[in-house]
């Protein structure tokens, strides 16, 4: 990478005050030893207690074990602990009982599910486009599965970052690194502006800038806690970020769109497809680098040699019997071909029998489909346009009177021309609905070659029987055909006339252009036929520069030009933007690749390296602060996505730097080690509600708990609430991965956006039982129950969720069909417990503790009057359930 990255040479692009470049966030991560005198084995506690002691505070006592296990289990896995686990843990005398429980949690696949969901918030992942044409993204979910697998596998953070931006370029052999690009495409996409309106409009241009703006905002906010998006219309008002930096980032993404991208789950296949597709694109654009490359020239040499040395002779076979199942009349012409006439049935099967030419060994069979003036458009098919569809070609050999019959297998099949998606391979795939076709090259003869798996020496008196099934319908039958055989081991198809003309001359007599045409044809055929033999690819909705065009959405073969826009106005372009990143990190390159490479991937790769560099202080501080905030309920820097001057100052600058350096250097970017360090700290294990004598002074001097003199109480997020309820009711299906569960009725809408109705969903169906991370996320119509609990809709990146308390939320928990129904299931499940223990068990599940005798009496009285389901509904609405101490 260093070869083509130009190191700091940003002339005059950063004229912002020197002072602001001295802002803490842009300085290298300092190496700060933990205070030795502050006590506590965990360095986190050493830092926290030093600050606290300076403010005259002391830490809160450790929370009791019931509180602790509930807190850490929900925090790391998003699921509550079982009553049995709680009891075991409370009774465990081992001093490291807590640490061992944490290790178990980090090993659980539920950990990946929980932390993937956090990342999906930050990426604003959803599964529809989110504008006026809110189309469903059928292939968004593989990115969610990739996230879960990555967190569970504890992929080092630097690698994870590289994968998000340029996994396809930096790890081409790893299919999942391509899936990682779902990150860049996770946000909304304006289908009207970017696909449907006219290419030559300003609105299309605006759409592209805004689309890249979303990518930049996501990448830089989430990975670098930078608000570079504020420099779109002018230099950043508060941070040392000139407008040129913003447009440098625009240029980094100038070659990608959001689209369905092919990948193969099998790495070897994935690698081969990349290579073949690369060649195919080169052939299409007549790229000399590909056409004169080793693979291409060798392919041509081999092909010409095969033709020369193995000129195959084809011996026509003479049909003795020939019938049309559909009632067409087949007649034999003088050249031993068969011509169809008369009735043209919807579908047909031709059966042809012949005696083998004497003494021949059969290695391959050739089927010629021939033109004829009697056929529509001259044939060779009988369809109105002259096309044909051969669904299945079968060949068997029989010896009459002996009962001997053998179906012959083919090692390979070739055709001189294949209709797009209707290749000759389909004629031997034993699937009736697929077939070989020749569109748009009707009006010409074509041929196919079927190479036998093993050469055949027909026994005396043997008969060759052919069956040509043409099951596609619409009268797509063969109009005229001829069969012949050869003993040649590797026959090839005849080239078309224009190629035949070229190869009639020796290579030295051909022009470069002719040689290029020949290479494109030979090598193109080879690449295409190999692609056709690969297993079907998977798709992921991701950033892509190579994808199937969809209406007006077409890939660009090189990065699109990006200009620095005066005042951000599309009508006021100034100079061209160069790819790059932020100039305020002087040890890293501010601009990338000055060359004009058409390969957009190099730009993204350079940005990925810039972000993942050990020397990038933003990246490492950003991630440890984010993880800290998710555990503690507030960040060391309160503004998780903004480390600029408008953001918050770090409350514990030394700790932040120590954590960043430790995570980067000692933990090698292992998030699991970071979690373990944080949740086993004394700071994390403090009580939320210390005795009043303890908290009185601190409540006044530090009401926001910036010094962490107690643990912050958090409200369970939407997923925790829903998953916990399913867990209590015994209905939680722990099946992981795959397409998302659609928890709504879906009908076609008036236009693109489908009609979505959450009220008709059967909450008892299988699609309602898996963890919430597998819910289908509809951007403009999110699930109202989840929204009421602050689950983001995926229209904005969410650094930290709101913890709102609203009337709508109370109504949702009290009356929503999901809660009301699960309360019944919960009650049914409790029926298996001894009657006297039911109330206790219910409280143990929901609160993580048994009820006090008074509570138990009150609850029992209610259950006696109104039933257990009503009681469960009540518990699920309690503050003690919704909040985590």
């Amino acid at each position: 990478m260093a070869l083509w990255v130009s190191w700091p040479a940003v002339a005059g692009s950063s004229e912002t005050p020197r002072q602001s470049r001295e802002h803490w966030a842009y300085q290298a991560v300092r190496s700060v030893p933990p205070p030795a005198d502050a006590g506590g084995a965990n360095p986190v506690d050493a830092f926290i207690r030093r600050s606290l002691a300076r403010a005259g505070g002391i830490p809160a006592p450790e929370a009791d074990r019931r509180t602790l296990i509930r807190r850490v289990t929900l925090d790391l896995t998003g699921l509550p602990p079982d009553p049995a686990s709680v009891d075991l843990f409370v009774a465990d005398p081992a001093p490291d009982a807590y640490e061992r429980w944490v290790d178990r949690l980090l090993q659980s696949p539920a950990y990946g599910e929980r932390w993937a969901r956090h990342w999906m918030d930050a990426a604003h992942f959803a599964e529809t486009h989110g504008h006026d044409q809110d189309r469903i993204r059928t292939n968004a979910w593989p990115y969610r599965d990739y996230l879960i697998a990555s967190f569970n596998a504890d992929v080092p953070y630097a690698r994870f970052v590289r994968e998000q931006i340029a996994g396809d370029v930096l790890f081409p052999g790893d299919p999942q690194a391509t899936v990682a690009l779902g990150f860049l495409a996770a946000g909304p996409w304006d289908e009207s502006s970017l696909r449907d309106i006219r290419e030559d409009t300003l609105d299309r241009q605006i759409g592209r800038y805004l689309d890249r703006d979303d990518m930049i905002t996501t990448v830089m906010s989430v990975l670098a806690s930078s608000t570079v998006h504020c420099a779109r219309c002018h230099d950043h008002k508060f941070d040392p970020i000139p407008q040129a930096d913003y447009y440098a980032l625009q240029a980094d993404f100038a070659g990608v769109d959001r689209a369905n991208r092919l990948f193969d789950r099998e790495p070897a296949v994935h690698r081969r497809r990349q290579e073949l597709r690369k060649w195919q694109r080169g052939i299409e654009s007549m790229d000399p680098a590909v056409l004169t490359g080793t693979e291409a020239t060798e392919a041509v040499t081999r092909w010409e040699r095969d033709r020369r040395e193995h000129a195959s002779t084809w011996v026509p076979i003479v049909p003795i019997e020939f019938t049309s199942e559909g009632g067409a009349s087949l007649s034999r012409l003088p050249d031993d071909s068969l011509l169809a006439a008369g009735i043209r049935p919807e579908r047909d099967t031709y059966s042809i029998t012949a005696t083998p030419p004497p003494g021949i060994v059969i290695s391959a069979i050739r089927l010629d489909v021939l033109t004829d003036p009697s056929l529509p458009q001259g044939g060779p098919g009988r369809a109105d346009n002259g096309n044909l569809h051969l669904s299945e070609f079968q060949f068997r050999i029989t010896v009459p009177g002996t009962g001997s019959a053998e179906d012959m297998d083919f090692a390979d099949v070739l055709a001189d021309h294949n209709q797009e998606s209707w290749t000759i391979q389909h004629s031997v795939d034993r699937v009736d609905t697929t077939a070989w076709g020749v569109h748009p090259e009707e009006g010409r003869s074509h041929h196919a070659i079927f190479i036998l798996r093993k050469p055949l020496r027909p026994a005396p008196g043997a008969r060759l029987e052919f069956k040509l099934q043409q099951r596609h319908g619409g009268g797509h039958e063969i109009g005229r055909l001829r069969l012949s055989v050869t003993d040649h081991a590797s026959p090839v198809t005849d080239p078309p006339d224009r190629i035949a003309t070229i190869i009639s001359r020796s290579p030295s007599e051909r022009t470069a252009e002719e040689q290029g045409t020949l290479t494109a044809w030979v090598f193109g055929n080879r690449v295409r036929s190999e692609l056709a033999t690969l297993p079907p690819p998977s798709r992921v909705y991701a950033a892509a520069s190579d994808f199937e065009p969809d209406g007006g959405l077409k890939p660009s073969d090189r990065p699109r030009p990006v200009s620095i826009l005066k005042r951000g106005e599309i009508t006021q372009p100034t100079i061209a933007a160069e790819p790059g990143a932020l100039a305020c990190i002087p040890v890293l390159p501010a601009r990338f690749a000055a060359d004009q490479s058409p390969d957009e991937g190099r730009r993204r790769a350079a940005l990925a390296e810039w972000l993942a560099s050990d020397a990038n202080p933003l990246t490492w501080r950003s991630v440890v602060n984010r993880v800290w905030a998710l555990h503690f309920g507030s960040g060391l820097v309160a503004t998780l996505n903004d480390f600029g001057s408008m953001g918050a100052q770090p409350s514990h600058a030394d700790l932040l730097d120590w954590l960043a350096a430790w995570f980067r250097d000692d933990a090698h970017g292992s998030l699991k080690q970071l979690h373990r360090l944080l949740v086993t700290s004394g700071t994390y294990r403090q009580s939320c509600a210390p005795p009043e004598s303890h908290s009185k002074a601190m409540e006044t001097s530090d009401p926001d708990n910036r010094l962490y003199w107690r643990m912050n109480r958090t409200r369970q997020d939407a997923e925790c609430v829903r998953d916990s309820i399913l867990h209590f009711s015994g209905r939680l299906d722990r099946t992981m991965g795959g397409p998302s569960d659609r928890q709504f009725g879906l009908q076609p809408g008036i236009h693109v956006t489908p009609k979505v109705d959450y009220s008709v969903f059967d909450v008892d169906s299988a699609a309602g039982s898996r963890r919430s991370v597998y819910r289908f996320l509809f951007r403009t119509l999110p699930d109202p129950f989840m929204s009421a609990l602050d689950c983001p809709a995926g229209d904005q990146i969410t650094a930290a969720r709101n913890n709102s308390v609203t009337v709508q939320q109370a109504l949702a928990l009290w009356n929503d069909r999901f809660v009301v129904r699960q309360a019944e299931h919960f009650a049914e499940r409790l029926a298996s417990v001894t009657e006297t223990d039911r109330i206790v068990r219910a409280c143990q599940c929901v609160w993580g503790r048994p009820p006090s005798p008074d509570e138990r009496a009150l609850l029992q009285r209610y259950a006696d009057r109104h039933g257990m389901a009503g009681l469960c509904r009540l518990l699920l609405n309690s503050n003690e359930f919704l909040f985590i101490n």
Binding site: H131, I206, T780, S804, Y862, G870, F883
Partner: protein
């Protein structure tokens, strides 16, 4: 008016379109003419006649006979302008001030700024067209990064009652009025005990209050959403007796009832997303525009009259608007393509200088030519009329003090009394 109501067929009378109908559209000076979804066609004559109305002499199409009788109560913004010609971004821009999703809409900002006046109803209610939600669906009513309590509550009239979750589902046989009431009582008792052992957390108290408010809402909301108490005369006024006007009329009448009960912001939509059944008249102005006008004209006028008769118009601001306008030339046959260049909206009620207009488009109604109203100016003016300074109504998000008006917006004094 979802889809881009055609200004030159409704309010922006342009004789040139009648004189030059069928000629190639040429604004002169070699200016490039661009249309979002089609090749620019010939100048298209408005298919319906215009007349002047009221003392203000405002030109209004014959398609809006009832609205026409109210022009002296309105202030017209005759040269509004959008930054886009595409529905999704255009709807976001008019609702939230930004082209991209995820920003708080006007109703959410108002809810955040003014708070709730009603004890037992949401602050911001959206009444979508029965045919479906508009472009961007609930994205248009989003609270964005503001607390979720400020998002629009969508009233769909579905089986669960007007406000989602107001009653338990009928399928839950185990819930009876008694179990519900006693359950809430016991819940509050448990929550109070929990608060006692976890003092000093306002969220715990807020949840206790939320359940109290929810209980009150369960009692009072059904009354607010029932039209049973309205007189036959009022129902006729809104056109509830006519199939053409009944649906939109019902929602206008609901809007009045909600405003009367202290709901701060009510949005009544005409037209769902998609290419037809709304104001996005690409195929034929002559065929597609009249039904939209017929459905809304009388109810809109009725709302103004009713509010005035009840003395509510003095402190209720009524806004009629759309995401952009349409082109002076035809698209294919007799329809018009999108045009962010100029369009018309009007305001009435609280603090409005009645009978005025502001701004003017060019001779074709192609582009705004004088006294332009951007969405920022429009929003700034609306906030001003509600007593809010648009530059000071902010929320710190992702490094910026975000405003409804971004970094733009001028209050249009000319339309203020």
């Amino acid at each position: 008016m979802n889809g881009g109501a055609s200004q030159m067929d409704l309010f922006d009378y342009k004789p040139a379109l009648f004189r030059h109908a069928g000629e190639a559209f040429d604004p002169g000076r070699g200016v490039r003419v661009e249309a979002a979804t089609s090749e620019p066609g010939k100048v298209l004559r408005p298919p319906f006649p215009f007349r002047q109305h009221g003392e203000s002499g405002r030109w209004v199409s014959d398609l809006l006979p009832h609205t026409a009788q109210c022009v002296d109560q309105m202030a017209f913004l005759m040269a509004m302008q959008s930054r886009t010609n595409v529905h999704g971004p255009g709807s976001y821009l008019m609702n939230t001030g930004f082209l991209l999703p995820g920003f708080p809409c006007l109703g959410a900002w108002v809810s955040y700024a003014l708070g709730n006046e009603s004890e037992d109803l949401p602050t911001f209610i959206v009444l979508p067209d029965a045919r479906g939600l508009p472009y961007n669906q609930k994205g248009n009513f989003s609270a964005g990064f503001l607390p979720v309590t400020h998002q629009g509550t969508v009233i769909d009239g579905g089986p669960s009652g007007p406000i989602p979750g107001l009653r338990p589902p009928d399928s839950a046989a185990y819930i009876t009025p008694a179990s519900n009431a006693e359950g809430l009582e016991l819940l509050q008792q448990l929550n109070a005990a929990h608060l006692h052992s976890n003092p000093g957390d306002s969220r715990l108290e807020a949840r206790i209050e939320a359940y109290e408010l929810a209980a009150r809402m369960q009692l009072s909301a059904p009354e607010a959403f029932s039209l049973g108490g309205e007189t036959p005369a009022t129902r006729r006024l809104y056109g509830l007796d006519q199939p053409t006007t009944a649906e939109f009329g019902r929602r206008c009448l609901l809007a009045r009832r909600l405003v009367e009960r202290g709901v701060r912001f009510v949005q009544v939509w005409s037209g769902a997303g998609g290419p037809t059944g709304n104001w996005d008249n690409h195929s034929s102005i002559a065929k597609e525009l009249p039904p939209m006008c017929a459905a809304t004209d009388q109810p809109v006028a009725a709302l103004l009259r009713d509010l005035r008769a009840r003395g509510l118009l003095d402190d209720t601001l009524v806004l009629w608007n759309t995401e952009f306008g349409r082109m002076p030339f035809s698209q294919g046959g007799e329809g018009r393509d999108h045009n962010g260049g100029t369009f018309v909206g009007w305001m009435a009620g609280a603090g409005i200088r009645a009978g005025t207009s502001y701004g003017e488009s060019d001779e074709w109604s192609w582009k705004a030519s004088r006294d332009v109203t951007t969405n920022y100016d429009f929003h700034a003016t609306v906030l001003h009329l509600l007593g809010l300074d648009h530059t000071r109504l902010t929320w710190l998000h992702a490094g910026t003090n975000r405003r409804l008006t971004d970094v733009h917006g001028e209050v249009i004094q000319e339309v203020i009394a």
